[in-house]
Symmetry: C2
Subunit: 299 residues, 2 copies
């Protein structure tokens, strides 16, 4: 029988909205909060819930916002929820943040009597909506136990990365390093191929069956081949996430030259006004440099 | 029934030796040639065949040497085989070479009355030995037809990339761009992870199931985790192959900044004396910079 919990999801973007729906579908009392009131109304199909009234009831607070500053504001800002939650409740932070920040938040939550699960997510909006995310989680056993109903409702795979908050965020940074580099490398390869008379369609017929393939290549290169840059995941994600990677690397005295160059390509894409487009649009940086016409663009 | 052909394989390194064995196993009369006489003796289990005596009998000449200069020497050097082959025979070049070079060789072979198949290979020594290579092939229909017995014996997948020599080499360059970048990015990510307390084993438990994975990552990262740098494919391959990519790119006025930086990492590995090691050893460039001790290394 379901142990019915009270869950609050902070951040109702594409990931948070899908996670909140999955939690609700699993039978938990689910509140959604967002700075965009329209999203809150849409999720509840009614007026927004009153955080002041429900904060003390929350068993699991799931934070699915854009960055560390927003996490800090949700938890410990002027109307921060953490100090108002009941002892023994758990804060589960799914945003991509620096490991040191996760450790800091865990300590501040502990001071409020709260458990903390460092729980970055991977998988995209579709898997958020279907409850099939991968979650890279770290926290003490009590944090895992307290968050379990939400993990069950939202994740196909939970990687348990140890007792210490920060380990989940570190693994997420490693994954983002690779994912961001692979998208940019795919863009470099597709456009290079076009200079040699190989179309994106021919590229897709061959490379996914060869040693040069990657998960991101197979997921994103079709967007270029079809000229479809409707954002599944925006270019804007990458200056943020690769910036986090390089900040962490710098703190460790680690040079990451390939990541650095990939970041430059995303920054160039943002400078071209492509930030809100699908991240496969980083190919347009290469196309402009080499005067290539991508599929779907005007000759 | 087998149409028994006379096949000569030039270059008996790990790829050529495997291909020659696969051709022989398919029932064709197979000669092997190499500048290293010991390899020839080993393949034939006897004295080397006399190229002068057999050149006129060859139906398919398969060239599996290291680079364009060696291809040119085999075909048109002082003892070059092409001018001595019979009209209607086919030259199948499997080395990674620039597309312009492939077009030049095709033209010179045509002048000798020979067909030319531009046929770079992918898959590694194990697949060469088992006859399961991927071959990125371009040439006119007569070239494909003449080479078919060797394609049947050596390849699991043949990509037919059109009538014009050069298209196979172009696709191979695209694949090498990606493969070389992905190995170096994997090395960057594994060592970055280590600075954050994530071991290569933990990395391998998580990343292959996430969006950051690549074919090369899954193939090469285990070499780092086990500290095993016995060469399946050498670091030395990459300055050559990424150099070809960048030469082609330069000729097309195309900037490939990620490839350029990956090449720098392989050059640094060669400068450290790692050229003959497995290409996963590019991780040692990162480890030295950041004072990380990789698995299997002395503390």
């Amino acid at each position: 029988m379901l142990d019915k919990k009270t869950v609050a999801v902070f951040g109702l973007g594409s990931m948070g909205c899908g996670m909140a729906a999955s939690v609700r579908k699993a039978g938990h009392l689910t509140y959604g909060f967002d700075t965009d009131a329209a999203r809150v109304v849409q999720f509840h199909a009614s007026d927004a819930p009153d955080l002041d009234a429900v904060a003390g009831d929350i068993d699991v607070a799931v934070v699915v916002v854009l960055n560390a500053a927003q996490v800090a504001a949700v938890l410990f800002g002027d109307a921060g929820v953490a100090p108002r939650m009941k002892p023994g409740a758990v804060v589960m932070v799914c945003a991509t943040v620096p490991p040191d920040f996760a450790r800091d938040m865990a300590g501040r939550c502990a001071a409020c009597g709260l458990h903390y699960l460092d729980a970055p997510i991977s998988g995209g909006a579709a898997k958020a909506a279907s409850g099939d995310l991968s979650i890279m989680a770290a926290g003490d056993p009590a944090a895992f136990a307290a968050a379990q109903p939400v993990l069950d409702a939202t994740a196909a795979t939970v990687f348990s990365l140890g007792d210490d908050a920060g380990a989940g965020s570190a693994m997420k940074a490693v994954n983002q390093l690779l994912a961001g580099v692979h998208i940019a490398a795919m863009a470099e390869a597709v456009t290079f191929a076009m200079t040699q008379g190989i179309s994106p369609d021919q590229f897709l017929q061959v490379i996914p069956q060869c040693a040069g393939t990657s998960w991101m290549l197979e997921n994103r290169a079709p967007h270029i081949a079809s000229g479809d840059y409707a954002p599944r995941s925006q270019v804007n994600i990458w200056p943020k996430d690769l910036g986090i990677v390089l900040d962490i690397a710098k703190g460790a005295g680690f040079n990451a030259p390939i990541t650095t160059v990939a970041l430059d390509q995303y920054k160039a894409a943002v400078d071209m006004g492509l930030g809100p487009q699908d991240d496969a649009a980083v190919a347009k940086v290469y196309a402009r440099q080499a005067a290539i016409t991508l599929p779907g663009e005007k000759e």
